[in-house]
């Protein structure tokens, strides 16, 4: 049996663990750049706030109802997600991390026990250990586990845990679920299916596989078979080494000066190298790109990129920054309002496995410098030590306010990853 465990309103829930005073207050979390609402508490949803509503449109509602607003705090969410996963590992054989707030669990080591009870205990332990509320669906296939999970979420009398112990129990629920609720069935296929008289998930499960394959594709056919209780595929357990890694952001304010662009790209280069080192990886090809906003159609449009490569894979911030800056200089064209830039690292391999070049000896000093930088930044906060190119000096010699940095006016502290930002308790 598989369980699908997903966290309720994950980003909001993370924020509420450490800021309990707004547990019953409508809360939203904003996307990168504080653009729009990407997470809503139930109270916020009840006020009519929809996924993707832009912040500026929500201002009157926010002021009138005292809605709590938070910027996207990825570090916090990633750290909490990891904790939830650790608790789930105690209750399952294999675990597939499907997304930051969802996981599939293989419950075969626990088949002898009462699976609903198992699900309830798991939910209670996640709640106690991490403060994050979750819903659990248990069934013979992943698609059915998703359906069970939806059912559990919509029916509080299940305790937010529901198990299809056999296909009959699954069918009873599938008859009550619309076809577009099924995992893997998007609005386009749902419309096609409904045109063919297939309205419920149960109807879909009864569809002949040949028809399913013709109407949708092999993925749709797999969904139909899974709804019937036939497993197509198992847990995806390999954390694949990324083939490429991108670090980019949309700018808070458009960039028009080369110096600003250099500072931004240097910062992204540093971040990309941080990530490579953190995962024990190196890369041999880097591409810098920059573009104007495609939404501002009245402004001149430009999208450009330039790459550079190294003979031996590297994660050395200084080297990559130097290459990135050269790329910016070669790419730069004035007269545009750039809305976004970034760096992509490719040709990624494990640092231990890289082949030393014939003409490039290993550079232990660089490794030591990177290690020292990482240690200081980990202890005192990101960017405590950084490459000078990643900052901006004005002509007078002072530091310019970095206008291109992402807007995050409502950022909560890094409660779990920064010693100077711990939750406070009044003693």
């Amino acid at each position: 049996m598989y369980a699908l465990v997903d966290c309720n309103n994950f980003y909001v829930s993370c924020e509420r663990v450490f800021d309990p005073c707004f547990r019953r207050v409508p809360t939203i979390v904003l996307s990168n750049n504080d653009g729009c609402a990407i997470a809503r508490s139930q109270e916020a949803t009840d006020l009519g706030i929809k996924m993707g509503d832009p912040l500026f449109e929500l201002r009157p509602l926010i002021d009138r109802h005292g809605i709590q607003v938070r910027s996207f705090n990825y570090t916090l969410y990633a750290s909490m997600s990891h904790r939830v996963q650790q608790v789930l590992q105690l209750h399952a054989g294999d675990v597939e991390i499907y997304s930051i707030d969802e996981a599939f669990l293989d419950l075969s080591p626990f088949m002898a026990s009462d699976l609903k009870g198992h699900g309830l205990r798991m939910k209670a332990q996640v709640q106690q250990w991490t403060g994050i509320p979750v819903g659990v669906g248990i069934a013979h296939t992943k698609t059915l586990a998703k359906a069970a999970n939806h059912w559990a979420k919509k029916h509080p009398d299940t305790g937010q845990v529901h198990c299809f112990r056999n296909q009959d129990e699954a069918d009873d629920v599938l008859r009550q679920q619309p076809v577009d609720d099924v995992w893997g069935i998007g609005p386009r296929w749902a419309a096609k299916l409904e045109a063919h008289g297939i309205k419920t998930a149960y109807d879909l499960s009864r569809m002949p596989t040949a028809d399913a394959r013709k109407l949708m594709n092999v993925v749709g056919e797999r969904t139909v078979r899974e709804l019937r209780g036939e497993r197509c595929g198992s847990l995806d357990l390999e954390a694949t080494t990324a083939k490429s890694l991108v670090r980019s952001r949309s700018f808070g304010n458009p960039v028009t000066e080369r110096a600003e662009m250099e500072a931004a790209v240097a910062t992204y280069a540093a971040r990309a190298c941080d990530k490579l080192r953190h995962r024990g990886l190196v890369a041999s090809t880097f591409t810098v790109f920059m573009q104007t906003s495609r939404f501002r159609t009245n402004e001149p449009q430009r999208s450009a990129s330039a790459g550079f490569s190294v003979t031996v894979g590297t994660s050395d911030t200084l080297r990559v920054t130097a290459g990135a800056l050269a790329a910016v200089r070669s790419l730069w064209a004035p007269g545009y309002r750039y809305a976004k830039a970034g760096i992509m690292a490719a040709g990624i391999e494990q640092a231990d496995h890289r082949q030393p070049g014939l003409f490039e000896p290993a550079n232990p000093r660089s490794d030591q410098l990177m290690a020292a930088m990482d240690t200081i930044n980990r202890r005192h906060g990101r960017d405590t030590v950084r490459v000078a190119a990643a900052t901006l000096r004005s002509k007078q010699g002072g530091w310019k306010k970095e206008n291109w940095k992402m807007k995050q006016d409502h950022h909560s502290p890094q409660f779990t990853t920064n010693w100077s930002e711990l939750m406070l308790a009044v003693a």
Binding site: P20, C21, T130, H278, W419, M423, L424, A425, V426
Partner: protein
Amino acid sequence: MAPLTFQHIYILGPAGRSTKPPLHHPLFACAVAAGFPTPADDYVEQELDLDLREHLIHHPAATFYVRAQGDSMRGVGIFSGDRLVVDRALTAADGSVIIAVLDGQVVCKTLRLRTGGQPALEAANPTYRPIVIEEGQDFEVWGVVTAVVHTLT
């Protein structure tokens, strides 16, 4: 040949799940006569990892660090600014030092559970009076404080 002496080395086991390197303190069991391997070498195979986290953290997924602010818990050795190790996996009992949420505020107090009476939060400082938790009041145990990190420098 000098007699071999042995020290008992207790291998505490691997450090908790973490990407940070453990603190290493290699230990040698005894003087080694040159060129002659000793049975004691088997005990020196692993470096002894003295990692404070292993001593302090028993449920990594449920353990958080919280900073104390205020004087009311000096009696148990918690001073303002200290970092508290808080374990959410433990069940709070009478006398546990806890982090609690009371009317939306995060506090650090000693929990008092009285049979047949309302629970209360006590300070460890005679100038502070206990807070009795009323029926239906917004109260929740956030976690149990298991250790205090009080740095002297």
